[in-house]
Symmetry: C2
Subunit: 334 residues, 2 copies
Amino acid sequence: MLAARPATVAWLCGYVIELDGGPGPFALSPLLLLRPDERPLAVVSEDEAPAFAALGCDVAAYPGFTLAPLDPVAGARSALARTLGGARVATETGWLPAALADGHRLVDVAGELVAARAVKDPDELEALRAAIAVCDAGQRAARVHARPGISELELWASVRAAVDEAAGCRTALVADLVSGSRTADVGGAPGARVLEEGDLVLCDLVPRVRGYWGDSCATFAVGEPDDAARAQHAAASEALARGIAALGPGVRACELDALVRDGLDYPHHTGHGLGADWHELPRIVPDGDAVLQPGMVVALEPGVYADGRGVRCEQVAVVTDDGCEVLSGHELAL
Amino acid sequence: MLAARPATVAWLCGYVIELDGGPGPFALSPLLLLRPDERPLAVVSEDEAPAFAALGCDVAAYPGFTLAPLDPVAGARSALARTLGGARVATETGWLPAALADGHRLVDVAGELVAARAVKDPDELEALRAAIAVCDAGQRAARVHARPGISELELWASVRAAVDEAAGCRTALVADLVSGSRTADVGGAPGARVLEEGDLVLCDLVPRVRGYWGDSCATFAVGEPDDAARAQHAAASEALARGIAALGPGVRACELDALVRDGLDYPHHTGHGLGADWHELPRIVPDGDAVLQPGMVVALEPGVYADGRGVRCEQVAVVTDDGCEVLSGHELAL
């Protein structure tokens, strides 16, 4: 099996690609070939070869950061051709570049791989706990630093600094950070809007730590919220609490979705799995047919968006043999 | 022509992909089909469709962020098949997923597209100027906030905040930020190391603004540098000045490389183009055969790494009809 999706490679061998600069000029995304009775073989640039070797992989490398003309596509194609030698191979055709596929007999198994990642191993749970602890630190910083007169972008700087400090390194970080009437938009990037007394702040933090993504959302007031905001927050909180109380093995995703969504009208999923991707199986959606199993990790995030404001509350929990364990430690109060 | 590389899509129509979370679960990377005498056609998720329409593109959309089961690969494949209808198409096969290539007659033109991007249009130069102004702000913050007793990661938080503030939004940002003996490693991510009196700080900032990447590097001392550091800095500065003085139309990349590298021994390119990718043509390398032309934008970045420390100085300039114009405005002094 030839893994081509970054999350699959991270899941299989622990190698985590950098995201800061997007697809770079020196290498294609790493490929990892699983072979019966042999070590995994990484088809990667020479720059990445030492890291894959340290993770226990064999390596077929092509030139990376070099003074010679750049052609990582030709390099990867040639390294892969040497490796596969015409064999039939299962792979992820949505992530394998067409230039590398030419001449090989490919069978797509992307769906099977995504399904296999849904139940977490103990080492994955440790990584997820670490990522969620980083979420907690970021959420704490959001509450500490939010005050009338600073912009969303200034608040964001404090939150991001706290996330990186808690992780001990620069982290990849997906996030919504919006305030006031912008909370009605469900999410968005922090901007120039200046926080005012009585505003709601909706903060959804999704940092990656050691290759695994945490997730968390809280909505809180700057100063005193009004009664309508309190009512919305109570409705979202209660929906989340219902979901956590019901989360356990044997529950169907559609049932959990209906239970949490009851009486609310949010335009998104109720929840999703979390791991080497920030949104994966099981998806907690109206037609979700997944049956929850111990070891699945689920983020639940009901929201109430109405009357020019929005509230969302989110916690992550791992399904246990007889219910679930909440991993999130951040404050949810308004 | 079917553009598949994010930088090509940005270059052609101005659409900029988010990088924070890497490849997401809801969509593949956007594809953009150029057709004779018609508007460009974007093959993208429904989430991205409004943005492409606003940029003047027709759109063939597939479901994106949805409550239904996720299968952006099947969605994109089907949308593309409707669009291409078996025609022969020039494309970038290193970026087009194999799942989408199946059944189409593809001709790779990635090399031609990279070459076409080397000379910048006026609107691209404006975007590059904006990105480089953001570099300047980040470099200023690095000098203001660097002091004995704070960690690289704390300094990084201030630099990143200044970059986002100058850009007016959260920016994608590639960077080296290392101090003391870590500067000998050429680059690296900020870490726990605490700055000390006399340290060098090497700060290379590469932010993306409106789809175009700035670039900048400075090396400066915390407090008083020693004589050896001064000598290394002088050598790197003089090499950069030689390069800027020589940069102009008709100059060959290999000649420029030799002129700047003379007497130095840095293990990397002398420079590179800059645009919708953070490292593109022309590459200023020992065997570089590109001939510089007006409108090319070049970052020059000679370095001196020796005796347990490293210095690198970098400026970006645009080639003009009779020389070059330096776009960088950041301080280079030690």
